[in-house]
Structures are given as structure tokens and as C-alpha cells.
């Protein structure tokens, strides 16, 4: 049994992890996942060209069963554990001891803590319709790490009419443990556009931030017109990234931005994935109430709640009700976006 790491489906969720730019960064993600999940299951890592994801049809929640000769004997667009079990019983025969979820022994530790506070700079509101486009970082093996990583998204209009909004977000990579130094010049970048492309302006600077440091993304929305497919926009960025209190780096990095949908970039969900409002969260989770008692027992919850179930069960009745589930959302927001202040004391 293996876990496979492939490109992130939901970057920014669950600890602000962002898409790695290099295989070494992917390997570091997989090692972090090993540590964080704490499972005894070994990990494998898809190559940077996403060959495994692409070779098997790129379909979320799909499933294949392969026989000992390496031939695919079952293919499903939507995997279901009960159907897998039935298939395996047909193919291999029934087993005496069924492996259950708890046998995997997930530890579910919390994500890496941000190097500085989050929730300091308000996130930019962007349309849920925006789609990630291909960015090509200019990687200099001897240059500084990509402490901040660009994510580019566009309106569907930009593909259709060549005119629309371009989102450019510089997200600190938690694996590099850097934060912004707001006591010095803020992040700035310049764009070089192909001839004929109309753009509001070419030079951008992040507004000053009062707090001396933070880890929030620096985000921009740019109006673009007449961007022909096949012609890339060049971006050069300069920022100061600090690791710890002493070590600050002046970083200059370059990217090419292509008007081409990046189907491996995942969906970052607007202004920051991983936030739940308290009542919506409680309602959504109560949909998992299988026995219909209006509360969740430990077998009916999933994810990070499981190892912390008892601490959320305020009246110690072994069940989480609507009122007990509401503060869980706040706790999860805090841990999924490490560095964000807890608004409800636990």
C-alpha cells in the first residue's frame, strides 16, 4: 500500500501549502505529509510533469484495479470502498481480517506553523470562476529559493475575448519558513507584455503593512485586453523574505505567464480555502449523521476532528451536537490557516 503525492488539488487549504516548483520541493512536501499524517504507509511522488496523474485520466476520485500481470481489470470513475471490497473478494477471495481505517494509524498532526501571523492583510476577493493559468518560473539552481510563489488565474472572459481580469498572487511557501519584512520596501513587480496587449499599468507595489511582519499573500488584480494566446507576459518580482529574526534575503525572480489553462494547478477557492463559517460548518457536518439522532458520534466524524473529538465534546456525552460543532470551525480555520488568530477561545 502506498500514498501517492501528486500536484495539490486545493492549494492554500490545510496549512497554506502551495504548488511546489521543483521535484525537491515536492519531495519535501511528501516528507512533511509523512510526518504530519504519521501513517505507516509509504509514499510515492509523481514527477513534475504529472505523468502518473495524466496517464490515468486525471479524474478525481477515480479507481483502477490492476492484476498481478499489470493488466487493468476494473476501472471506475468514482471510487467506492464497498465496491472495491466486493471486487477484491471476487478477484482474490474473502479475507479473514479486514483492514479498517483505524489500522492505518493516522496521527493527523497539525500543519507547519506560519513563520509570522496570518489574517493581517485582508485577502483579495476574486471570482470563483477564475481558472489557474500556466506560469513558468525561471529557476536558477544557484539562486535563492522561491520563498514566495506566484499563482496566476484569469477570468474565463480572458480566454473567450482576450480581455478580462488577471489575478497575480505571491504566496509564501510554508516549507521555506519565510515571512515578509514590512519594515523594508514592500514586494514590487513589473510586467513586460507582448505588443498590442493593453494593460492598466506595468509596475506594481504592494501597499505598506503596519505590522512589522506577516505571512499573508500579496495579491493583485490586473485588467488585461488583447492578450493573444501563444504570447506570454513576463513578470519580474523583487521582495524581502526573512527566515527567523536575523536572516533576510533580497529576492529577485522572474516568471513567464501563459494564457493557457493549467489543469494541474488545482482550485484555490477564492479568497483563501479552508475557512468555514460556524453554522454552515455545523450543518455540513451533521449531514454525516448516519443514525439520524441529530448528533455525531466518533464514527460519524472525519479528518482532524477525530483525534480531538473528546476536547470538542464539551458535555462529555460522546456526541457532538450543533452547538458543539460550531466552535470546531473556528479551531479548524486557525489550524488550516496557521497563524490566523483564534476568535473563539477554546
Amino acid at each position: 500500500m502506498f500514498f501517492i503525492y501528486k500536484s495539490l488539488a486545493h492549494p492554500e487549504l490545510a496549512g497554506n501549502y502551495v504548488q511546489p516548483f521543483t521535484l525537491d520541493e515536492r519531495l519535501a512536501h511528501a516528507r512533511q505529509a509523512e510526518k504530519q499524517l504519521g501513517a505507516t504507509v509509504p509514499w510515492l511522488v509523481d514527477a513534475m510533469d504529472n505523468r502518473l496523474k495524466h496517464a490515468l485520466g486525471d479524474r478525481a476520485n477515480s479507481e483502477f484495479i490492476v492484476d498481478p500481470k499489470g493488466i487493468i481489470v476494473r476501472k471506475r470513475a468514482w471510487s467506492h470502498p464497498a465496491e472495491v471490497r466486493t471486487d477484491l473478494e471476487k478477484l482474490v477471495g474473502p479475507v479473514e481480517n479486514i483492514t479498517r481505517e483505524e489500522d492505518v494509524k493516522l496521527k493527523l498532526e497539525l500543519p507547519i506553523k506560519s513563520a509570522a501571523a496570518r489574517g493581517v492583510v485582508p485577502r483579495l476577493k476574486r471570482s470563483e470562476q477564475m481558472q489557474a493559468i500556466v506560469i513558468v518560473p525561471k529557476i536558477d539552481p544557484k539562486g535563492p529559493s522561491f520563498f514566495a510563489k506566484l499563482r496566476a488565474e484569469t477570468d474565463p472572459d480572458l480566454f473567450r475575448d482576450g480581455a478580462g481580469k488577471l489575478y497575480l498572487g505571491f504566496h509564501l511557501d510554508p516549507l521555506h519558513e519565510a515571512h515578509w519584512n514590512n519594515l523594508t520596501k514592500p514586494l514590487s513587480f513589473k510586467l513586460e507584455v507582448p505588443e498590442g496587449v493593453k494593460i492598466g499599468k506595468l509596475s506594481f507595489e504592494s501597499p505598506p503593512v503596519m505590522a512589522p511582519s506577516d505571512s499573508d499573500p500579496r495579491e493583485f488584480l490586473v485588467d488585461v485586453e488583447n492578450w493573444p494566446e501563444g504570447k506570454s507576459i513576463r513578470l519580474s518580482v523583487i521582495y524581502y523574505a526573512c527566515v527567523g529574526k536575523e536572516t533576510c534575503h533580497t529576492v529577485k525572480q522572474e516568471y513567464e505567464i501563459h494564457l493557457e489553462r493549467d489543469r494541474d494547478a488545482g482550485k484555490a477557492r477564492g479568497e483563501g480555502a479552508g475557512f468555514w463559517d460556524a453554522e454552515g460548518f455545523a450543518r455540513q457536518n451533521l449531514a454525516r449523521d448516519k443514525n439520524g439522532d441529530g448528533k455525531l458520534n466518533k464514527a460519524e466524524v472525519q479528518g482532524l476532528i477525530v483525534p480531538h473529538f473528546e476536547s470538542f465534546d464539551k458535555n462529555q456525552d460522546g456526541l457532538l451536537d450543533f452547538e458543539e460543532l460550531k466552535p470546531v470551525s473556528d479551531w479548524l480555520n486557525h489550524h488550516h490557516q496557521p497563524g490566523t488568530a483564534l476568535s473563539t477561545p477554546k
Binding site: V45, A60, F64, I72, G266, Q302
Partner: protein
């Protein structure tokens, strides 16, 4: 017979309480099922990596049944 459960997961860094975000789409699911590789085809031979950066070939999975599930824990 040994069974290898080969789970492809994305953003596998914490488990979210949210329901899976992958949306079901009957048309795309039907297309997926008739797109190669299909039942009867060999599993593509590919090289991936261990977290330490060592190469791992999918061909090494031969010799036992493998369940390959693309899941997502976020």
C-alpha cells in the same frame, strides 16, 4: 495473494472535515471510462519517486493485485 493499495492523493497534508470537493459529473465520468487506459489495457509503465528521491517504477507493482484510487484528503 498480496494486494497493494495504491492511493493517489492530492494536498494530502491534513484531512479536512469538509465533504469531498470533487464534483460528480456524469458526462465526464462516462468519457473517462472509455478513455484509455481501459479495462484490458496494461497499467502504463512510469517512473515516479520515493520521498527520498529514489526512482520507483510502476512495473515493480506486478506480482500482486493493486488498487489505485485517486483520493483527496483535503
Amino acid at each position: 495473494m498480496r494486494i497493494t493499495l495504491f492511493m493517489a492523493m492530492t494536498a494530502l497534508l491534513t484531512m479536512s472535515p469538509a465533504a469531498a470537493w470533487a464534483q460528480r459529473n456524469p458526462k465526464k465520468e462516462a468519457e473517462f471510462l472509455i478513455t484509455r487506459p481501459v479495462v484490458g489495457d496494461p497499467l502504463p509503465e512510469l517512473t515516479v519517486y520515493t520521498p527520498e528521491g529514489k526512482e520507483f517504477k510502476t512495473a515493480d507493482l506486478r506480482g500482486h493485485y493493486t488498487v489505485l484510487t485517486f483520493g483527496c484528503l483535503t
